[in-house]
């Protein structure tokens, strides 16, 4: 309860939580703001490239589609991709980091060497290559991002595990004869959970950004999907006259990622044990 109260006092974090919450609701129920979700890909050539108006606050695109509605519906794919990527990366990366950080021996060095190889090149480059190999589409983008993102979790968990491992209470447990598995699952895991949750929250935003780059470069979603990165790439051709086309999808990315980052920041402050003690 005290924690909740503390969280509510952190205005930016609350703002972030509200943004994320709104995005989740819109991803599940786009009907709330979109008249007919099935029709968002249907063009209307007469309405082509109309500037923002009260009716269509973000204007229309080159096929006369309502950009506002397409941006709203785009929330769903953005969140789906990032949730998938982050969850898969955590499932793979967290146990590996835990093992590498707590056990010593060949398995642990092998894990870290493989992680090093993945981290030796920027994630985006590997992701583009893999996405291209798998063939263009949202699914390949998701797989490509997941395959290249898990090492980040391994690294975080590895570092945190080493910190916790050095702490006196782990030594005490070893002294009392607790098994390694018990220490790892019941003591180290909860203690590294906080930084992992923070990392995952910020990671949601990061993946949305990376996925948008894939869409923009043309290795992600396929038209006519209402993908934000893809929309920016299409809208770019109509600059500067039809500025709204490329601008609003970008603002949507900014807002949602901002939401995750603010939330992650707030959580970081919240779970900081130094602050918890007071």
């Amino acid at each position: 309860m005290l924690i909740l109260k503390k969280f509510l006092r952190d205005l930016p974090a609350v703002l972030g939580a509200l943004i994320v919450l709104a995005a989740v609701i819109l991803a599940i129920f786009p009907e709330l703001l979109v008249d007919n979700v099935d029709r968002i890909n249907r063009g209307n050539i007469i309405m082509r490239l109309k500037p923002p108006s009260a009716d269509m606050p973000f204007g229309t695109d080159d096929l006369g589609r309502n950009i506002f509605e397409r941006v709203i519906v785009g929330t769903r794919s953005a969140l789906t991709i990032s949730l998938f990527v982050v969850v898969v990366s955590m499932i793979v990366g967290v146990p590996l980091g835990l093992i590498a950080g707590y056990r010593s021996g060949w398995a642990s060095s092998a894990i870290m060497r493989v992680t090093d190889v993945f981290l030796a090149v920027p994630q985006l480059i590997l992701a583009i290559a893999i996405a291209q190999l798998l063939g263009r589409g949202q699914i390949s983008a998701m797989i490509a991002l997941a395959v290249t993102y898990w090492p980040f979790f391994t690294r975080t968990v590895y570092a945190e595990t080493q910190k916790v491992r050095a702490s006196l209470f782990v030594e005490a447990l070893e002294g009392y004869g607790a098994s390694k598995t018990r220490i790892m699952l019941f003591h180290i895991l909860p203690n590294v959970a906080a930084p992992v949750i923070v990392r995952a929250t910020v990671g949601m935003g990061f993946v949305i950004l990376t996925a948008a780059v894939l869409g923009f470069l043309g290795v992600g979603a396929v038209p006519p999907a209402p993908d934000w990165g893809l929309q920016i790439s299409e809208g770019r051709k109509y600059l500067p006259e039809q500025w709204w086309y490329a601008t609003f999808p970008g603002l949507a990315i900014l807002l949602l990622v901002l939401g995750f980052n603010l939330l992650g920041d707030g959580l970081r402050d919240l779970v900081d044990p130094r602050l918890r003690r007071s």
Partner: protein, 336 residues
Amino acid sequence: MLLFLIRRLLLIIPVLFGLLLLTFFMLRLGGNDPAAIMAGDNATPEMIARIREELGLNQPLVVQFWDYLVSVLRGDFGVSLFSQRPVSEDILDKLPATLELTLVALVIATVLGILLGTLAGVWRNSIFDHSVRIVSVAGLATASFWFAIMLQLVFAMGFEILPLRGRLPTGMAPPPDITGMYIFDSLVTGHFAITWQAILHIIMPAVTISLGGVATVARFTRSAVVASLQSEYANYEQAVGYPRHRVVFPYVLRNSLVTPVTQVGLLFGGFISNAVAVEAVFDWPGLGSYLVQAIFTSDYQVVLAVTLVIGAIYGVVNILVDMTQGLLDPRVAEKM
């Protein structure tokens, strides 16, 4: 120190080997048939078979990998399917453009990030601190390619004060080639008109790339400064009569630089990532756009070589970062 340098350089080798292994098998097992691409759209199966024979693509993959490895060690990265030139020549052409861009971005990120972060840390919880926080969180939330487009929209298309794309105006000849980095080369050779143009052209792409970096460096500097100001030694320094500004600079600041400097190494990867998309937006003839094009055309020799080069640069940058830490902190230096 020398021992440290040698050991670290040697440690890059297995990582690069692993990287090569990963990309090689990934491309060959999952990718398109290079022979089919080389032969073109109208090739007959016989032609493709002949090319396979010539390139040794019939051999087992392990043998192919070995052959490739041997030629890489000799400095031969093969020939680009797309440009029909040796890949190493292409890379030497494109690398300076990317290096120039990332270096300028690095300078912007470090200088601005440390400045903002320090001031925010010193004036904790002030309006300035809150603004830096908002700006940096927003900076980390911005898609770089979109930000690039917005900059173009405002400064190149709207106010028309900055050039839209490229490294130099069309028609302007590049300065004599020393490093391939125009700003440096033109300064050294005295072509100041070119310097000016090169700077104008690099502003928008460099700012775009550094955006996330400024934010990251600022945040890490701020928290390090805050922690350092609350440390025992900062207390001691105040207690024995150092004036406040001296406590901050240089005493607290130099301590606080260790963490952000680590970040700069990690940032470099982010810069190259950003460069891929940003180079595309600004038509910057660098390694990033070269790589993207190679990926799209399944030019696998190029993809392999460029990933390797980027991996090597990344490794060297991280060694430099560790050595900088040694310069900042004598305790670190002693362990080297």
